[in-house]
Point group: C2
Chain length 200, copies 2
DNA sequence: TTGATAAGCGGAACAAAGTTCCGTATCGTC
DNA sequence: GACGATACGGAACTTTGTTCCGCTTATCAA
């Protein structure tokens, strides 16, 4: 997780060289652009070329592709994390808060070409991406789910992890086929989550 | 779609050479084994080696990976196609038939390492795999869905194509993480499909 | 049985992408 | 300005997919 510059210069002198910090910035911008243009699988060479650096420089700053992807999307993921408690506080119904939060997450995912796919890939390259998303988002989702469950609004036999996986999966391929809309099927899933007396 | 041998020798003589038919058989077996061992992404070289043929022979018989995958799983997909009408006939409730049919499909998908992923991949290599599955299964699903809808058992605003996409997506990653069970979330989705007077 | 010929085969060769490594250039400091 | 540490660039190597063509072999007619 690259992070070290700007702010208060820490004791000792582990501060990165100026050119390194500059390159990291440049790379982040180039990667973001490449991700929009070609998805999160954009070839390393392309990103390097766009940033005007050698491929070695990418690997030095972001050892795995997941590191780069996380760095690019960190802000938005964190925004999602913060949205959870806010929605819970701003809604009378925890279920409504959950629905809105999930919508927010889906909006984020479907607009990031290839990200949902990467999240579910079993490629080792993306393992830590997967881990990061789950580490940050599952606890938030669990809070929402617990609240809704406590209010008797949703079934209590579904775990946050499972729900997040399901929602992430449903986002795959959204945008490639206009007849498939992730938002619609996610809504269906959440509807199935509603507490119901009716058996299976 | 390789298919031409055995049975009645057709007029003219477009019958394949014996060694070619033999190789096709061998390849199919080798591929099936490789798919089980390493998923449907098993390297072409590995499959060729396992079958004791050159890579050229694979490409001659199965020009794209999708052709090979379809050939390996055709029987099971067709079984799924035939199960549709049978279930509809054998159940009083079309909704129950739909649920059983989807379960059947999910069982098939989750036991084929990497197949669900391949189905959703936007890789051009798998385009025709995607097409084959949809061509065969969507009509069956549509019949079940229509019947259930006509019986007032499910919402009428969901298309078969969308449902199949969703179910396929939900199968991704099942088996990699014991905390995620495709069957469970698919059941949730189908529950959300139930006709309901409750809004939202 | 034996050629002739078309069908089929093998695998070298090429291409695309990821990843590593090290000689060289640059930064920051004394 | 010199020097050590840091960072850079990109050639080289790896893996996997894909193509191509000279060689082999099955088939068939004579």
């Amino acid at each position: 997780m690259p992070d070290d510059d700007g702010g208060a210069p820490e004791r000792r002198s582990p501060r990165k060289r100026a050119d390194a910090r500059r390159n990291e910035e440049t790379l982040l911008r180039a990667a973001a652009a490449a991700f929009v243009a070609s998805g999160v699988d954009a070839p390393v060479r392309d990103i390097a070329a766009k940033a005007g650096v050698g491929v070695g420089t990418i690997y030095r700053h972001f050892p795995t592709r997941a590191d780069l992807v996380v760095a690019v999307y960190r802000h938005q993921v964190e925004a999602c994390v913060e949205a959870g408690p806010a929605l819970l506080a701003g809604n009378d119904s925890p279920h409504a808060a959950l629905v809105q939060w999930v919508d927010h997450f889906v909006d984020f995912l479907v607009t990031k070409h290839g990200l949902a796919e990467a999240l579910r890939s079993d490629d080792a390259t993306f393992q830590s991406l997967h881990t990061y998303f789950l580490d940050r988002l599952v606890p938030v989702c669990a809070d929402l789910l617990d609240a809704a469950s406590a209010a008797g609004e949703v079934r209590s036999d579904v775990e946050a992890l499972e729900l997040m996986h399901a929602v992430g999966n449903l986002c795959i391929g959204s945008g490639r086929d206009s007849r498939y809309d992730a938002r619609r099927v996610v809504a269906l899933l959440l509807r199935g989550l509603r507490a119901g007396r009716e058996a299976a």
